[in-house]
């Protein structure tokens, strides 16, 4: 029994140390340049290529549909519908990931649905009174472009963080193994009790 224990345990630990982690699918979405963009990925790395992406409104009705490209990214014209939306990625084989898109993700002020117009990046707090409507629109467009450029590296970092968050850590594995030992211990107690002195 000891040899089996050692062998199987060694196998288990060797597998646990393997860097090739699988395999839950995740997704996120954000607004950029008037489009709804996003990425679908497998936790721990790996892109979800040609995976179907659906956008549902707050009631679950389908708004638009598209597919991820070779990098696992997708982009579509900004849908219109009641927020919060749900971006659903179908990775095949019964794998599915949801991502809730709220007004904050789209850079809109947190007003109830109905007041939200076409999404723009957040401006500075307390905008000064504009000299005229045309000039204000031009300023906002330029400002929007500048913000897109400045925020792109930050968004890339958030993307990386989101991917890393889904990764399986050794802590999780050890926790699971501990639970298994504990459950079998309880089972052992349950099976030992009725026997009395017999065993």
């Amino acid at each position: 029994m000891r040899i089996i224990a050692v062998t199987l345990l060694a196998l288990g630990l060797a597998l646990a140390a393997c860097p090739a982690w699988a395999h839950g699918v995740g997704a996120y979405a954000y607004a950029e340049g008037g489009q709804l963009k996003g990425e679908a990925y497998f936790a721990g790395g790996g892109r979800c290529r040609s995976c179907r992406v659906e956008v549902l409104d707050a009631q679950g009705a389908a708004l638009t549909e598209t597919e991820t490209d070779a990098e696992g990214a997708f982009a579509m014209a900004m849908p219109s519908g009641e927020l919060p939306w749900t971006v659903v990625v179908h990775a095949g084989e019964g794998h599915r990931a949801d991502y809730k898109v709220t007004a904050a993700d789209l850079g809109q002020p947190m007003h109830p649905a109905g007041e939200a117009a076409s999404p723009e990046p957040k401006g500075p707090p307390g905008p000064p009174p504009a000299p005229g409507p045309v000039t204000a629109a031009v300023h906002e467009a330029e400002f929007g472009k500048l913000l897109d450029k400045k925020l792109a590296p930050l968004q890339a970092q958030v993307r990386r963080l989101a991917e890393a968050q889904g990764q399986v850590t050794l802590r999780d594995v050890v926790g699971g193994l501990g639970w298994i030992l504990g459950l079998v211990g309880v089972l052992a107690w349950a099976k030992a009790r009725p026997r009395g002195q017999g065993r």
């Binding site: 224990a5 199987l8 084989e93 298994i180 079998v184």
Partner: protein, 201 residues
Amino acid sequence: MHISEGVLTAPVLGAGAALTAVGVAVGLKKIDYDQLPRVALLAAVFFVASLVRVPLGPANVHLYLGGLVGLLLGWGAFPAMLAALALQAVLFQFGGLVVLGVNTFNMAMPALLCFWLFGRLARGGGRGLAIAAGFGAGALATLLAAGFTALALYLSGGEFIQAAQALVIAHLPVAAVEGALVALAVGFLRQVRPGVLGTTA
């Protein structure tokens, strides 16, 4: 092979839960007190195996080891896999708790079937035959698990033939790897501890 939450319909989820409940009840009764360390080890190995991605082929597939669990535990595969899959759902968000019944059945039933088909050969029989039986158990369990998964998706409204083809083809490399692994394990265990293979459960 792990189906996510929100994919299957209620009838399929209910059927899977019911079948798994039966399997787990029988398994718990049949596990002998002396076999408990083995149950713990195999549940642990199965728990870790799903984290190992098999890089062969284009699809994103992982190790399963249902053949090994089935040959060594028989009906005990049901409670062992239920515990491991529940922990995977809670700790890693692989699969899910609502879909736990279906996922457990998809993975434990092939293990039990391979126990019935190959258990006796792996236990008795000549050494070559036993190793071949080990390969058969490892490979067939993987393909059956892929097939059961496709069936569950089909019964929830997917296209069965396409899903089945895609799943089985994606798991062919894994099946070969698993067959080799279980064959090796059977060969080793027969030399060291023959009583472990094919329990009387």
